[in-house]
Symmetry: C2
Subunit: 670 residues, 2 copies
C-alpha cells in the first residue's frame, strides 16, 4: 500500500482539486489513513474566505475553523500549510502520524497551532463549534459598542455522516438553533460513505429536514466536488441569515478523482494504493512531484500572510481605541484575551469556621460560584436542566438566550454530552473564559467522552457534579455513583476533587480556577455536612492533609482517611477512639492527583510509612485504595450498586458509619 | 411537605384522573418525588389497551411497556397494581422509595416483575424500547409462519421532554425509523415543563418535524389531559401504519387538576403539599381515602386478570401446535424463550496451539463469533460503523434491515450510545437473545451510561471492544484507551476480560455467554499477537492463572503478571530471566472480577503471599495494580495520554518492553 495525500490547490481564481503526492517513504502510514476527498473543496473555500493571521494563530478575533470529521486531518494540515502557518511545514506533512510530529492522526489543539479544538471522536467538533460560536456571541454582546464592533468572527465547521449520526451533535445543534447562533456555519459533507459502506445501511434520515426542525437555516449544494461558486454563494447566504445557524449540506463523491475507487467505502478506511494514486494523478492532470506546490498556487494562498497581518494590525488599532474609550470593559476584555486573572480574585472565596451552619457542599458550591462570578468576568456556565438541584445559578445574571446573549447562566436542557462538548469549545475560545457545567455526578457517564477530551485538550472546564454518592437517597442505584470517583482519579490530566465542607469547597474552586491547563471535577453532596475543624483552602491545594491528630512524633496509632461527606464520619470515629486513649490522625484526601504531586517529604509527613494501621472511608468503590492503605489497611466503601431508600438508611445498611470505622480500627490495633 | 400520589382510575368506560391520596406516614418520601401527571391518561390508555397477563409478567408474547421518563415510576407502579400484578400490592405502594421495597425511586426490572427495563437516566427507555421492538420484528420474521403468527406484540413507550433532549434518543430513533419498526408506539408527553422550568428556556425545536425527518409517522393529540378518545384513536392510527414507528405527541398540563400549581415546574421536582393535595382532590371530586380503589374501578381493571390468562392460554395452545408442525423452529424458539443454551454449544469454540498463526484478538474474536452464531441461535449484533475494524460480521448472515429483519448483522451506524441501549432492550426482551455490540474500546466513553445500565439491570450484553490500547498506533490519543480497563474493573456486576490470544479469546466468549445475569466487555487488540504456551479456556474461567513457571514449591523468585497484548511481553521477559537462572512465574490476569471470585486457596496457589517480588505489565493505567503487587511490586503501564505514531514506536517510547520488565525484575531480586 502506498501513502496517499491530497490537498486542494488553486490557480489564480480557477479552482482545482488534485492529489498531491505519493511518497514511498511514508508507506507505513497508509493503512489507517482516511481523507475525506469530498471535503477538499469545502475546506479550501473556508480557508480562503476566512479571516485569520497565519503568523499569529492566536489572534483573538480570528474566524474559527473546526474539522469535526477529524480523521481527515491531513486536509486541515495541508490547508494550514498552504495558508502559511509555521506550525505545518513540509517536513511536518512528511511526518504525518509519526512520533512527536505536529501532524498527529487526528487534529490536536495542544500539538498544532492553528488547530482550535481536538477532534476525531465523532460529533465532538460540531459541538465544540457550538461552544466557539456561543463564546463569540456572548463576548460580542458584552463588549461590542455601537461604534466599536471589537468581537466579530464566524465559526466554520465541517462534519461528516458520522458526526451527524452521533447523539452529541444533535444535542449541541438543538441548542445552537435555540440560541440562534447566526455566525455558526456548518458544512455537512454528504458523501454517502462511512467505514461500513454506503450510509444507506444505517443512515437514511433527512438530515436537512432534521436541522430545519432544530431551528437552523439549511442549504443544499448538490455538486460539492468542484462547485466552488455554489459553496461560496452558500457561505454568503449563510452570513446573510443572522438569527439562525446554517447547515450547508454539500453532496460530494468520496475519493473524487480516483478513476476506479471513487464513491466506494474502500477510500474511507484505507489508502488508494500506488497504482490508483498514479491513475488519479493522471485523471486530474497533476504532473508535479510529491509535496510540490506550484508557484501560482503558492502565490494565491500567500496573500493570507499579508492580508492576515493587516487584519490583525487593523484590529489592534481598533482595540487600542476601544481600550481608551471604554476603559473598564477594555481592561476586562484584555484579561479574557490574555487569560490573566484579576489580582486578588481568590479573596472573594468564602471562608467558614466550625461554627458556620452545616450545609450541603452543592449549596456551598453555589456560594463560591456566585462569589467568583463577581470577580472572574470569564466565569460562565450552567446545568443540564438541574440548576436548582446542582445549585449553579449565578443570581446576579440572567439566562444566556438568543436575545440576551450577554448573560452568563447557560441553560443546557437535558443534554449532558452536548453541554460538556460546548464547554470545551468555550474554554478553548478564550484563555480567560472559565466555563462550568453541572449535572448529577453519576451522569458524567453521559458526557465522559467530552470530559476526556477536555483533559486531553487542556481545556479548563469546571464540572460541578452534585448528588455525589448514595447520599442522594431515594432516587436509587441509577442515580447513585459508585465507581465514578475512582474512574476519574485514573484519567490523565484531570483533577478529581471531593470537598468535605465549605472551606474545602472554596479550596476546590481555587484549584480549579488556577489550573489553566486541566479541567477539574468537583463531587458535591446533596445532603448537609458540618463545617469541620481543621479543613482549609491550603489543605485542598496539597490534595491531602491532616485535619486533626492527637499523636506525638508523627506516630499515630491509626490513620483514618476520609473524603467528602465521609470525612465527617472519620472525624467522629476519631473523637470516640481518642476518648478511648488512642492516638488518631484524620486525613482529608480531597484530591489524589494533587497529593501525588507533593514532595515525598510532605507525603511522608501526612502518611508516615511506619504507620500501617490505616482505614479509609468513602461512599464509593474501594478499588484503588490499596495505594494508600497498603496490604494491612481496611477500606470501607461500596462495591455494589446502590439502593433506593432514605440516605441515612443506606449509609447504615452499607456500613458507612463511625461505629464501623471504630470496629475496624480495633482490628488493626497491635 | 406532604406525600403526594396520583394514579389513574376508570369508572366503567368513563375515564377520569384523580389524585389518590396523601399519607402522612410517607412524608419522608416527598421531597424528591416527581410524577408526570400529564402521563396518567397516556399510561392508562396503554395499560388498558395492551395485551399481557398480570399473573405471569414473563409471558413471552406480551406487549412491552417502557416508562422512559422513569422518574414518574409511581404512575407505572400504580398501573401495575390496578392491572392486578402481584409484584405491586398496596403495601408495596406504601413502601415507595424505601429500603428493599418493590417500588424503588426509578423503575428497576430486577426488582419489580412487570417492569421490562431499568429507566431513570433519561433517553435510555426509548432506546431500550427500540431494542425491544427490534427483537420482536426479528423473531417474528424468523419464526412466524403463514399459518402461525406466534410472535406478534407491540412495544409502547412514554417519553418526556428530557428523553427528547438526550442524544441517545435521537440515535436510537433514527435507527428505529431506518429499520421501519412499525410496532413501536412512542408517546411524547409534551408538558412544556422540566426541572429548570418552562422548556422554552432550552428546548424549542419542532419535535414532530424532527421525527418525520427520522422516518417516523407522527400524530399530535392536543388535549392529553383527558382526551382519552383521541389517545385511543391515535393508538389505532399508529397500529395501522405498519412500516414506520409512530410518535404520538400528547400535549398535557403538568400537575393537571391542581388548582394552584398545575403547569408549573414546582410540580416536577417536588410534592404539592398537603393543602394543595386537598384542593386538588376537591377540584377533581375525589372523596376516597388514601390508597382506596373504588369497586367500579377495581372491576374495570380486573378484567385484565381474566383476559390476560385467556390470552396466554390461547397462545400456549398455538405454540403447542407450532412446535408440532415446525419442530425445528419450535425447539429453537423454545430455547430463546427459556434462555437454555443448546447442549454442547461450547464445543464450537475454536481451540489454538502455540503453532497456530499469530493473529489479532479482534480477528480471533470474529472466528469465535462466527463459530458461536451457528450454535447459538440467539446471538445477534454488530458494530457502530466499524464492522470491518471490529471484525464483527457474521459471515453466514445478511444485514438486519427494514425488509430483511430475519438477518442477524445489526448495522448501528456511528451511534455507540444508542447501540448500547438498544442491546439492553434486546437482551431483556428474551432470555435467549444474546446481543453483542462493538466499537473501539476508547469509545465505551460514548456509551458508558448504557453499559452501566446493562450491569445494573443484569442484561447479558457482550461488548466487543477492539483497538484496546496504544497498540492501535497512529490514530493517536483520542483513540487510545488508557484508564478504560481499570474503570470497568471497578464497575459493579460487569466482567472486564482482556484475552491474550486465541484460547483466551475463546474463553472470554465462553464466560460471556454463560454469565446470564451480567454483561461482559472483551478488550481486543488491533495488532497481531502470538498464540501463547499455557493459555486456556479453563484459565480464563478462573480469571487469573499461571501460564508458565519454572519454580519449585510454589516459590518463584518473581511473578510477572500480564494481560492481553502484554502477556506476550511478560512471557518473553520470563524466558530471558529463566535463561539467567531465575525461577519465574507468568500469570495471565485476564479478568480481575473472576479471579476475585475464586477460593482463597486457589488465589494463593496462583499468587503466593510469600512472593512479594511482582511486576505487572499492561498497556493502560497502573492505578489499582497495588491490589496484586502489594507495596513492593512494580507496575509497568501508562499514566498519561497516548500518542500518534506506529504502535511499536509507542510501546518502546512508553517503556512497555521485555527489557523494561527484566530491568525492573533485577531491582526486585533480593
Amino acid at each position: 500500500m502506498r501513502w496517499r495525500r491530497r490537498t486542494p490547490v488553486t490557480r489564480g481564481f480557477q479552482w482545482d482539486v488534485r492529489p498531491w503526492a505519493t511518497s514511498s517513504s511514508m508507506r507505513s502510514c497508509a493503512t489507517t489513513q482516511r481523507i475525506p476527498t469530498g471535503s477538499i473543496a469545502i475546506g479550501s473555500c473556508c480557508l480562503l474566505v476566512m479571516r485569520y493571521n497565519p503568523k499569529n494563530p492566536y489572534w483573538f478575533n480570528r474566524d474559527r475553523f473546526v474539522l469535526s470529521a477529524g480523521h481527515g486531518c491531513m486536509l486541515h494540515y495541508a490547508l494550514l500549510h498552504l495558508a502559511g502557518y509555521d506550525s505545518v511545514k513540509e517536513e511536518d506533512l512528511k511526518a504525518f502520524r509519526q512520533w512527536e510530529s505536529k501532524t498527529p492522526g487526528h487534529p490536536e489543539n495542544f500539538e498544532t497551532p492553528g488547530i482550535e479544538v481536538t477532534t476525531g471522536p465523532l460529533g465532538q467538533g460540531i459541538a465544540n463549534a457550538v461552544g466557539l460560536a456561543l463564546a463569540e456571541k456572548h463576548l460580542a454582546a458584552r463588549f461590542n459598542k455601537p461604534d466599536a464592533e471589537i468581537i466579530d468572527h464566524y465559526t466554520y465547521v465541517i462534519l461528516g455522516d458520522g458526526c451527524q449520526m452521533e447523539g452529541v451533535s444533535n444535542e449541541a445543534c438543538s441548542l445552537a438553533g435555540h440560541w440562534g447562533l447566526g455566525k455558526l456555519i456548518a458544512f455537512y459533507d454528504d458523501n454517502h460513505i462511512s467505514i461500513d459502506g454506503d450510509t444507506e445501511i444505517a443512515f437514511t434520515e433527512d438530515v436537512n429536514a432534521r436541522f430545519e426542525a432544530l431551528g437552523w437555516h439549511t442549504i443544499w449544494v448538490k455538486n460539492g466536488n468542484n462547485g466552488y461558486d455554489e459553496i461560496r454563494a452558500a457561505i454568503e447566504e449563510a452570513k446573510s441569515v443572522k438569527d439562525k445557524p446554517t447547515l450547508i449540506k454539500v453532496t460530494t463523491t468520496i475519493g473524487y478523482g480516483s478513476p476506479n475507487k471513487a464513491n466506494s467505502y474502500s477510500v474511507h478506511g484505507s489508502a488508494l494504493g500506488a497504482k490508483e494514486v498514479e491513475a488519479t494523478r493522471q485523471n486530474l492532470g497533476w504532473p508535479f512531484e510529491p509535496f510540490h506546490v506550484p508557484e501560482d498556487v503558492k502565490s494565491h494562498w500567500s496573500r493570507h500572510i499579508s492580508d492576515g497581518a493587516a487584519l490583525e494590525t487593523e484590529w489592534n488599532v481598533k482595540f487600542g481605541e476601544y481600550e481608551k474609550k471604554y476603559n473598564e470593559d477594555g481592561t476586562i476584555l484584555k484579561g479574557l484575551i490574555s487569560g490573566d486573572l484579576p489580582s486578588g480574585w481568590e479573596k472573594a472565596l468564602p471562608v467558614y469556621t466550625p461554627e458556620s451552619p452545616a450545609d450541603a457542599t452543592r449549596n456551598l458550591s453555589q456560594q463560591c460560584l456566585n462569589a467568583l462570578a463577581k470577580v472572574l468576568p470569564g466565569l460562565i456556565g450552567g446545568s443540564a436542566d438541574l440548576a436548582s438541584s446542582n445549585m449553579t445559578l449565578l443570581k446576579m445574571y440572567g439566562n444566556f438566550q438568543k436575545d440576551s446573549p450577554q448573560e452568563r447562566n447557560l441553560r443546557f436542557g437535558v443534554r449532558e454530552h452536548g453541554m460538556g462538548s460546548i464547554c470545551n469549545g468555550i474554554a478553548l475560545h478564550s484563555p480567560g473564559l472559565i466555563p462550568y457545567c453541572a449535572t448529577f455526578f453519576v451522569f458524567t457517564d453521559y458526557m465522559r467522552a467530552s470530559i476526556r477530551l477536555a483533559a486531553l485538550s487542556q481545556a479548563r472546564v469546571i464540572y460541578v457534579m452534585t448528588h455525589d454518592s448514595i447520599g442522594l437517597g431515594e432516587d436509587g442505584p441509577t442515580h447513585q455513583p459508585i465507581e465514578h470517583l475512582m474512574s476519574f482519579r485514573m484519567m490523565p490530566n484531570i483533577l478529581m476533587l471531593r470537598p468535605a465542607d465549605g472551606n474545602e469547597t472554596a479550596g476546590a474552586y481555587k484549584v480549579a480556577v488556577l489550573n489553566r491547563k486541566r479541567p477539574s471535577i468537583l463531587a458535591l453532596s446533596r445532603q448537609k455536612l458540618p463545617q469541620l475543624e481543621g479543613t482549609s483552602i491550603e489543605g485542598v491545594e496539597r490534595g491531602g492533609y491532616t485535619i486533626s491528630d492527637n499523636s506525638c512524633n508523627n506516630r499515630p496509632d491509626i490513620v483514618l482517611i476520609g473524603t467528602g461527606s465521609e470525612l465527617e464520619i472519620a472525624a467522629k470515629a476519631a473523637d470516640e477512639l481518642r476518648k478511648a486513649g488512642k492516638a488518631v490522625r484524620v486525613i482529608s484526601l480531597v484530591s489524589w492527583e494533587l497529593f501525588e504531586e507533593q514532595s515525598p517529604e510532605y507525603k511522608e509527613s501526612v502518611l508516615p510509612k511506619a504507620v500501617t494501621a490505616r482505614i479509609s472511608i468513602e461512599a464509593g468503590s474501594t478499588f484503588g485504595w490499596e495505594k494508600y492503605l497498603g496490604t494491612e489497611g481496611i477500606a470501607i466503601g461500596i462495591d455494589r450498586f446502590g439502593a433506593s431508600a432514605p440516605a441515612g438508611k443506606i449509609y447504615k445498611e452499607f456500613g458507612l458509619t463511625a461505629e464501623k470505622v471504630i470496629t475496624a480500627s480495633h482490628s488493626l490495633f497491635k
